[in-house]
């Protein structure tokens, strides 16, 4: 986020601010602006000048399906992540300190564990003869193994798991700041648990839900490893499309165009979030 802030025009700062920001600006130029500019350039010049790459991406049903998959999965993943992360963050806030510390450590450690390893672990768990199917069959919920890998279900499960910490952390940030006596006050005012949740807790946690949700959504849009391992070839997502275009087909124009669309969507979402937060801060 700080990168985005720096990239935005510097409001109300003098020349000395710019001088101080020089190293960062150079770094951004070298590793961000120039590569993106080259990508953009290649997307409108290869194989020949024009917008035909973008036209193809927008026009063809095959590519449309990739975009649809990507946004659909990212949306579902975000939703499920919020639904799981909220109770987890709440439980972490109210449970006794030592327990909360242990669970918090597990969450952080899982973020540091290799992504590939964790995704492979899910492949093993989710496959037809995997643990999850065996348990479901043995307790009699199903009698045929469910198809949980090589489709969007597998992708969703795997991505929710990977994204959870990114949702839990910002939620913890806002929920920990809520004074428990505010909820006690709500209860004495006559609010049931449900009313206290929907009328007090959720509104107060909204900034955390928004920032965590946006982060998860944007990360999900660009995810590559999990969809390619758990999603199979039939359900391609945007990151896979880009990799395929560039690596297998050496089609830099098409890959660049897809990447550029992804970048624009991402930046657009961040801009919305920045506005949202600045508007909120303004009322404080």
């Amino acid at each position: 986020m700080s990168i985005i802030r720096l990239a935005l025009p510097n409001r109300g700062r003098g020349g000395s601010g710019l001088a101080l920001a020089m190293p960062a600006v150079l770094l951004l130029l070298a590793f961000f602006v120039i590569p993106v500019a080259m990508l953009l350039l290649r997307s409108i010049t290869e194989p020949e000048p024009g917008l035909q790459n973008y036209a193809a991406l927008v026009g063809s049903p095959t590519y449309a399906k990739v975009f649809l998959n990507t946004f659909f999965v990212a949306g579902i993943v975000t939703l499920i992540t919020v639904l799981i992360a909220f109770p987890v963050a709440w439980a972490l806030t109210i449970m006794p300190r030592p327990w909360a510390a242990v669970i918090f450590a597990i969450i952080i450690l899982s973020m540091w564990t290799n992504l590939l390893a964790r995704t492979y672990a899910w492949m093993v768990l989710l496959q037809q003869t995997g643990l999850i199917n065996r348990i479901l069959i043995s307790i009699g919920i199903i009698d045929q193994p469910l198809q949980l890998t090589n489709n969007l279900i597998g992708v969703t499960i795997g991505m929710v798991y990977i994204m959870l910490p990114f949702m839990i952390l910002p939620l913890l940030g806002v929920i920990r700041k809520i004074d428990p006596s505010i909820l006690q006050a709500a209860a004495l005012c006559g609010a049931t648990r449900w009313q206290a949740l929907t009328r007090v807790l959720l509104p107060l946690a909204t900034p955390g839900i928004a920032s965590g949700g946006l982060m998860v959504f944007v990360m999900s849009l660009g995810y590559f490893v999990t969809p390619s391992l758990l999603g199979g070839t039939a359900n391609m997502m945007l990151a896979e499309l880009i990799a395929q275009q560039v690596q297998s087909l050496v089609n830099w124009g098409m890959g660049g165009a897809a990447a550029f669309i992804l970048l624009v969507v991402t930046l657009g979402l961040y801009a919305v979030q920045l506005r949202f937060f600045e508007a909120r801060e303004g009322t404080r």
Partner: protein, 362 residues
């Protein structure tokens, strides 16, 4: 005996190995202003929290009009509460904060409008409906909290040190408002504070808490004139304690011998003791007279003046007895000795025996 309006019956609460309250027993009448006064950690909040339903007691019961509240969850107890910390809902306007209890009770729009207006008027904040809590002072926020706690006409209002975060002047202003609101609404109030002045100013009766137990219950004047224990005597009003030994006991009068051999007879005794027990003589500063020599009537002791402080409407003289205990004497403005008393003077203090109290040391 008739059923008390609110009966706190043998309440005990244990956290791990900490006994927060023990055998708290109190009967409160309808419309009464009852204050829990005691030092920090003496179990006042715990008692209030059990009433609110945030904690379950280890033993004992809470009865409102004869019916136990313990199995009723907080949100169904219909009790109002103002907390020590600011607990307005920060995302809701003042009007919506006060409307909250009515909204969760699914009241109609007209009723909500009418009651919110009335409650805000009661705390003198009419016209503040659209303000956000963050844009209000601490005193205003606590008044909104009071309106929110009263808008649904609860039979009992709990207040847990609601003014402790405010400065002295503002505190006194709001104390005055709370008294007025109590008179206007007739609501039964349980008020917690560690500030004796606040307790004396507000309450019909005061329960003195110490180490989880109630030491004494009574009106302010009762507690001041007849403290049952050393702790109460020390907590209400500033008093001097002179250490000595019980020499003899007759009925409820004691004879006390001090370290320098000085003997006082006929002092009211609190508690039980036998000759030889360590005891303390308690004196209120405004009951002590300062004189040049030993008086003809009453009790008297020689002292050496240690310090004189002029405080406007009175002067405070700190003096020390022959065996080293300090006591203060208050001289009202105009007292002939003001101006002449000085550090190092050898004078006498005297008082009426009935104005002193002897507490046997445990």
């Amino acid at each position: 005996m008739t059923t008390p309006f609110l009966h706190i019956n043998g309440l005990r609460k244990v956290y791990g190995n900490v006994v927060a309250t023990d055998h708290v027993e109190l009967a409160i009448s309808k419309g009464e202003f009852m204050t829990f006064l005691g030092p920090s950690g003496s179990g006042k909040s715990t008692t209030l929290y059990i009433l609110a339903g945030f904690q379950d007691p280890t033993a004992g019961d809470i009865l409102l009009q004869g019916r136990s509240l313990l199995s009723t969850p907080s949100h169904k107890r219909n009790i109002g509460m103002v907390f020590q910390r600011y607990t307005l809902f920060p995302h809701l306007s003042v009007g919506e904060n006060v409307a909250f209890p009515l909204r969760v009770r699914r009241a109609g729009k007209d009723e909500i409008d009418r009651k919110v207006k009335k409650a805000l008027k009661l705390v003198r904040l009419d016209g503040f409906e659209d303000r956000m809590p963050a844009n209000m002072s601490g005193g205003q926020q606590q008044r909104v909290a009071l309106a929110r706690a009263l808008v649904y006409d609860p039979p009992v209002l709990l207040m847990d040190e609601p003014l402790s975060a405010l400065d002295k002047k503002l505190r006194e202003e709001i104390q005055f408002e709370i008294r007025r609101i109590h008179q206007e609404t007739g609501v039964t109030i349980l008020y917690v504070t560690h500030d004796q002045e606040e307790a004396l100013r507000l309450s019909d009766r005061i329960a003195i808490f110490n180490k989880g137990k109630i030491e004494q219950v009574g009106t302010g004047p009762e507690l001041y004139a007849n403290p049952a224990t050393h702790f109460v005597a020390d907590f209400i009003g500033d008093s001097a304690f002179l250490g000595g030994e019980l020499a003899a006991i007759a009925d409820d009068r004691a004879t006390l011998r001090f370290a320098d051999g000085e003997v006082l007879a006929g002092v009211p005794l609190h508690g039980t003791g036998t000759a030889g027990d360590k005891a303390e003589l308690m004196l209120r500063p405004e009951r002590i007279e300062l004189a040049a020599g030993p008086g003809r009537e009453g009790a008297t002791l020689p002292v050496v003046v240690e310090d004189v402080t002029f405080l406007g409407n009175n002067s405070t003289v700190t003096a020390r007895t022959g065996w080293g205990d300090a006591l203060t004497v208050r001289l009202n403005f105009g007292h002939p000795m003001i101006g002449s008393v000085a550090r190092g003077d050898r004078l006498h203090v005297q008082w009426q025996p009935k104005d002193a109290h002897v507490f046997v040391k445990p």
